[in-house]
Amino acid sequence: MLDKNGIAKRIAREVQDGYYVNLGIGIPTLVANYIPEGMHVVLQSENGILGMGPFPVEGTEDADLINAGKQTVTLLPGSSIFDSAMSFGMIRSQKVNLTILGAMEVSEFGDIANWKIPGKMVKGMGGAMDLVASAKNIIVAMQHVNKAGESKLLPKCELPITGLRCVKKIVTELAVLDVLPQGGFKLLERAPGVSVEQIVKATAGKLIVEGDIPEMVL
């Protein structure tokens, strides 16, 4: 079973040299910590940065320099700043290679719900609907089951959806799964110490298990 950092570490292996990557809030943000040295990756923050760097050293933080999570950040050499129309322009025109974000639910067709729980205060979708509608490669980082122990990998999303048929891959504390175009979660890897049976039990949507499922390498 993986912790949050383990999920982030596993997702980092999906990042390729030369990628422009947009990281959502939460576990996705941690992925930046596990991108191998020497791999050239540029982080996009949808409020208007390419080439986002780490948090600033105490005392150097700048109110004019924040990320999409409103956290103070830094700029790396080669970075650029642009307005929000251009930022979503490059997202919409699929120049960003990989989008990693969290989810409350994912359906076996790749629908995602991650912005609204009926009856609770709704804060808004921010840039999530734009990202999921546009990105060609979306990986979801999330827990396999919710706090009530119910699966978040469902035949159909029950919460209001954020986008249709967009999630390509899911990494949870238990497994790595592809979402197949024709529907279904194809099990690719088990987390260390996790059995296929555990994953079957935790997955409410159609799970496809073919042959031996290797344990993931981190």
């Binding site: 005392g59 924040i66 307005d83 205060m121 921010g126 249709l164």
Partner: protein, 232 residues
């Protein structure tokens, strides 16, 4: 050159009256027109519709107008971190329209570029699509979204000249150039107001033609919402 400078925030907001629609620059608390917001609080203008990515926090930014019950409706993409907002929204005092962040940005761009509508895939198949035209281009569905139509825009820039040219600093750029282009009357507050010729023509983010009133803000608190740092 045309001189579009005014004395202060009070003079700049002249003509903003009850029930008008305002476009407001900024992302979170970054790059918000603090001085104009404070002047609007002082003016007591009511029934405002504010188009702004966020709604400030309880005691800063648009939160001040909310506290004072001057806002009738917010059109935003994300409105967390604001208890009074939540209270007014849940009680029905405040109308809230949530729209995707890229849609918000592009509807402002459309207004500034004279395009009546734009098509975006954001929100297709979701409740955001309710009542909107869906159209398929090259096998993909898009929503038709209208350009914003607002009375005033208030934005904040780093530097500006008296002809209205604006330069933004780092991510305080965000929605500011877009809201500036989209306003019928655009008001810009700047940290530094210079004479024409002191800004490099190649570095201007918003040409003065889009800015109708410009002034040097009296105070810029520039509050940080999430101070995240690495220990020395």
């Amino acid at each position: 050159m045309i001189n579009r400078s005014v004395k202060n925030a009070e003079e700049a907001i002249a003509g903003i009256t009850d029930n008008m629609t305002l476009l407001v620059g900024g992302f979170g608390l970054c790059g918000i027109p603090e001085n104009c917001i404070n002047a609007l609080v002082q003016s007591g203008v009511k029934g405002l519709t504010c188009i702004s990515n966020n709604a400030g926090v309880d005691d800063f930014g648009l939160g001040l107008l909310l506290q004072n019950k001057q806002i009738k409706k917010m059109i935003s993409s994300y409105v967390g971190e604001n208890a009074e907002f939540e209270r007014q929204m849940l009680s029905g005092e405040l109308e809230v329209e949530l729209i995707p962040q890229g849609t918000l940005a592009t509807r402002a761009l459309a207004a500034g570029y004279g395009m009546p509508v734009i098509y975006t895939p954001a929100g297709v198949g979701t409740e955001v699509a309710a009542g909107k035209e869906v159209r398929n281009f090259n096998g993909k569905d898009y929503l038709m979204e209208y350009a914003f139509d607002a009375d005033f825009a208030i934005v904040k820039a780093w530097k500006g000249d008296t002809t209205g040219n604006l330069v933004f600093r780092h991510t305080a750029r965000n929605f500011n150039p877009l809201m500036a282009m989209a306003g019928k009357i655009t008001i810009a507050e700047v940290e530094e107001l210079v004479e024409p010729g002191q800004l490099d023509p190649d570095h201007i983010h918003t040409p003065g033609i889009y800015v109708h009133r410009i002034f040097k803000g009296q105070v810029f608190e520039k509050r940080i919402e999430q101070r995240t740092v690495i220990k020395r």
